[in-house]
């Protein structure tokens, strides 16, 4: 019907940063938008299907919510938007909405003949992006693409913010416009995945709207390739040129790689710092400045140290600090990261980390909940876990608490973080935010990321600006987590954190996220050049001990975040350099994050790998905790991972790390850590 008109209005195109590097977006957007419509009334279903087809969308119809969910699950990137009736016999429409939000993070539009205010409000609170009254007019359907674009744009934005600083000069690979005009949407716009990638990738801030440079979308796969390359080269030896050669991706420029590397490094750094923050998820949001302060100081210090070592690019440092400043001081950078990490953890857990999409749901869901502030059982749990995590993180005492049960581990670590619960909570939020961001990005990852992404977005929306400072990190951690385990999933979602206001400060972080995403994809662990870590630990060997830990986590089904944390911790502890490769992506992120956190936090502390380790531990702990909490919340039982994520492993990893950290501390060279090889 008037697709063309719609298209015309779309011209978002170029400016919409979301479709960067798209090449998937064709000029015919929104034609080909993949819509899933769910309604138990066959008459309405038939009419809707016809209308949507007339709008040139690609329609799939279901008359049962269960069917719809399974379709979505089996093809995570197969749909762009969902239309669902509110009243259905087998499952309440709002419940379905929640599931989708948590698991897949797709935009969902509710429909009903009921136009009562309460019902519409319910839709809003449950996260529906629109509510249509039946009978639905075709005109209303013509515009549903806006929700898809908006979501992507937000993700992108978050991403951008986090990584903006560095990326400024990214060379746009594809102009946004180009995205739209990409090869005719063969009926699917490269899916959300692509979107996510674009979002992540963006070093450039598309949202800056003026930048029309084509953006390289660091999809999960691409990131994984990147991580693999970095790992192969060695995090400290990874230079963009070589990485580029190794990756051998046509169309990728050295600049793209460079900015991504920067982000990755930041991400790693953030991971170490984030873990601490994560615990503060829930409450903190900005309130905890003081607590954060401590962290941030730590981060600041670390950052400086890192910078000093030359590992931490000045930019990153600046970013981190900026992030920190976001909070109110430069320090905040770290806290944010922590938070981010937290987010990551929480999100990641659900998401990818453990390759369990379901878990991700949990986390995502939970995180989302957190963000929304809509208390739910899950949220409560998450909050609790987050709180724990936050606490440990907050404590950042850089002491590596003896690994105990995972939760305990996390806690002690968290404690070390010296963060108050509040902080943690705020971190959590940030993390959540990041995760959310990640989630969207990690479209490839599948749902979990989505939810996180949502969460992060939400938080950012909620104005958790301060906590989110470490957007970059937070996202990355999550991202890292994801990729680590999932290896493929994290599409640049990790970086979504950038979008959160606070989060976005850490541009570098954002970078990480992207990197993380890509890395995760590629190597299953991102090890974006986390300079932070490098500085911290100077671990040349990228064996991420954390990986081992992470692996343990993996088994526990923790989403990547856990792993990331573990990895971080391990690497920090065990290896002189985080062997990025080894960290399963998850761990790495966690480790990186934790390390990063450390580094940013205390420069001095950073010096000692132990600090890092601790961070990592905290991170790990966080992750663990988070994971757990998330799992709890997660509705899918499958996702519940054993509380003990290989605590033993974690413990050993931590211990190891501690030892090694001391020696290596400064360098986490996460260049493409291949998570798999992290020797514990």
């Amino acid at each position: 019907m008037n697709v063309s008109s719609v298209k015309g209005s779309m011209s978002i195109s170029s400016s919409t940063s979301t479709w960067k590097a798209g090449d998937t977006i064709s000029d015919q957007f929104p034609a080909g938008l993949r819509v899933l419509v769910v309604d138990d009334d066959p008459t309405c279903l038939m009419i809707l299907e016809k209308m949507l087809t007339a709008c040139l969308y690609k329609v799939t119809k279901c008359n049962r919510a269960e069917t719809a969910l399974s379709k979505l699950r089996e093809n995570k990137n197969g749909y762009d938007i969902v239309l669902s009736d509110v009243h259905m016999p087998d499952m309440d429409g709002f419940k379905l909405l929640e599931h989708i939000g948590l698991e897949m993070d797709l935009p969902v539009i509710m429909m009903s003949a009921d136009d009562g205010k309460q019902v519409v409000m319910k839709g809003v609170t449950h996260g529906a992006c629109d509510y249509l009254i039946k009978p639905v007019r075709i005109e209303a359907l013509k515009n549903i693409w806006q929700h898809v674009v908006r979501k992507r744009k937000n993700e992108w934005k978050e991403f951008e913010q986090s990584g903006s600083v560095e990326e400024g000069d990214r060379q746009p690979k594809q102009s946004d416009d180009a995205d739209y005009s990409s090869s005719a949407n063969e009926g699917n716009w490269k899916g959300s995945k692509r979107r996510k990638d674009e979002e992540e990738e963006t070093d450039e801030r598309d949202d800056t709207s003026t930048l029309k440079k084509p953006r390289v979308v660091w999809s999960v796969e691409l990131h994984q390739q990147f991580v693999a390359a970095v790992n192969q080269l060695g995090i400290d030896k990874a230079v963009p040129k070589k990485i580029l050669e190794l990756m051998n991706v046509p169309g990728l420029t050295r600049e793209n790689v460079a900015s991504h590397l920067q982000k990755y490094r930041l991400y790693l750094r953030r991971l170490s710092g984030v873990s601490q923050h994560q615990s503060n998820l829930s409450t903190i949001i900005s309130a905890q400045d003081p607590t954060f302060g401590s962290l941030s100081s730590l981060s600041g210090l670390d950052l400086q140290t890192l910078a000093a070592t030359g590992q931490l690019p000045a930019q990153s440092l600046a970013r981190l600090q900026a992030a920190g400043l976001g909070r109110a001081t430069a320090k905040s950078g770290i806290p944010i990261t922590l938070v981010d990490q937290r987010n990551i953890f929480s999100f990641e857990n659900p998401k990818l980390r453990f390759g369990e999409g379901q878990q991700q749901h949990m986390t995502n869901k939970q995180q989302v909940n957190l963000l929304h502030g809509i208390p739910t059982t899950m949220e409560a749990k998450q909050l609790v876990s987050l709180r724990h995590a936050a606490q440990s993180v907050g404590n950042m005492n850089m002491q590596v608490p003896p690994p105990g049960p995972q939760s305990s581990q996390n806690n002690p670590l968290l404690m070390q973080m010296g963060q108050q619960q509040q902080q943690q909570q705020s971190r959590g939020q940030i993390l959540v935010d990041s995760t959310i961001n990640h989630a969207p990005r990690l479209s490839s990852m599948g749902q979990p990321i989505l939810s996180n992404g949502m969460a992060t977005n939400v938080s950012s929306r909620n104005g958790i600006p301060e906590n989110i400072r470490a957007p970059g990190y937070s996202q990355t951690p999550s991202m890292l987590n994801f990729p680590m385990n999932h290896a493929s999933e994290l599409p640049g979602n990790c970086f979504p954190l950038g979008s959160t206001p606070g989060v976005s400060n850490l541009t570098s972080k954002g970078a990480f996220q992207e990197d993380v995403n890509s890395e995760i994809k590629g190597s299953g662990g991102f090890m974006p050049s986390y300079d932070v870590f490098n500085d911290l630990n100077q671990h040349k060997p990228q064996s991420w001990e954390l990986q081992n830990v992470g692996i343990a986590f993996d088994s526990s089904q923790h989403s990547n975040s856990l792993q990331g944390n573990l990895d971080l911790t391990q690497s920090a502890l065990g290896q002189q350099g985080f062997s990025s490769g080894q960290m399963n992506g998850h761990n790495r992120s966690a480790a990186v994050a934790s390390k990063a956190v450390f580094s940013t936090g205390d420069v001095k502390e950073l010096r000692s790998a132990q600090n890092v380790n601790q961070h990592l531990n905290n991170l790990l702990v966080d992750n663990t905790i988070r994971v757990k909490s998330e799992r709890v919340c997660d509705t899918s039982p499958a996702n519940i991972f054993p509380d003990h994520f290989g605590q033993d492993d974690l413990m050993s990893a931590l211990l190891k790390q501690q030892e090694s950290v001391a020696s290596s501390e400064n360098e986490f060279d996460f260049d493409g850590y291949s998570m798999n090889n992290i020797p514990v």
Partner: protein, 146 residues
């Protein structure tokens, strides 16, 4: 000529639906969805509608007869009927449904019964009007005049 006459007849029938407000603009919307590939889309939709709503209406009528009907259940069914009737453009039917729902909300059982009876009346009337219309239309395969 003859076909022209038939077409005129069809058009007149159609117009009367609108004039009498038996159908509303959503019906037109459905018509717009018809094209070469789906020449009988509207009829198909209505076939489905009639099939389902007949069942729903019967359920509601049955429910009214039983002692233990719950308003919630009734409302649910009426809501369903409302959705589909609105989507196909069955205006009069929709109006009756809305009236009945309001009465039901107030807890007026008798009023609800009466309302359902009216609903049934309009529904049957709609069916009686549309069926010949569709038959004629299909027999003559005339592109829908808008």
């Amino acid at each position: 000529m003859e076909s022209k006459h038939v077409h005129q007849q069809i058009a007149a029938m159609r117009q009367s639906f609108f004039d009498e407000e038996v159908l509303d603009e959503f019906f037109s919307q459905l018509e717009q969805l018809e094209d070469q590939n789906n020449p009988n889309f509207v009829e198909e939709v209505f076939t489905m509608y009639f099939r389902d709503s007949t069942t729903l209406l019967e359920t509601v009528e049955q429910a009214m007869k039983t002692i233990s009907i719950t308003f919630a259940k009734m409302d649910k069914i009426l809501h369903q009927l409302k959705g589909s009737s609105a989507s196909v453009g069955a205006k009069k039917v929709l109006n009756e449904i809305n009236k009945t729902r309001q009465v039901l909300e107030k807890g007026n059982l008798e009023g609800t019964k009466a309302g359902i009876w009216e609903m049934r009346k309009e529904y049957e009337s709609l069916k009686a009007k549309l069926e010949p219309y569709f038959q004629l239309k299909q027999a003559n395969s005339v592109p829908q005049e808008k």
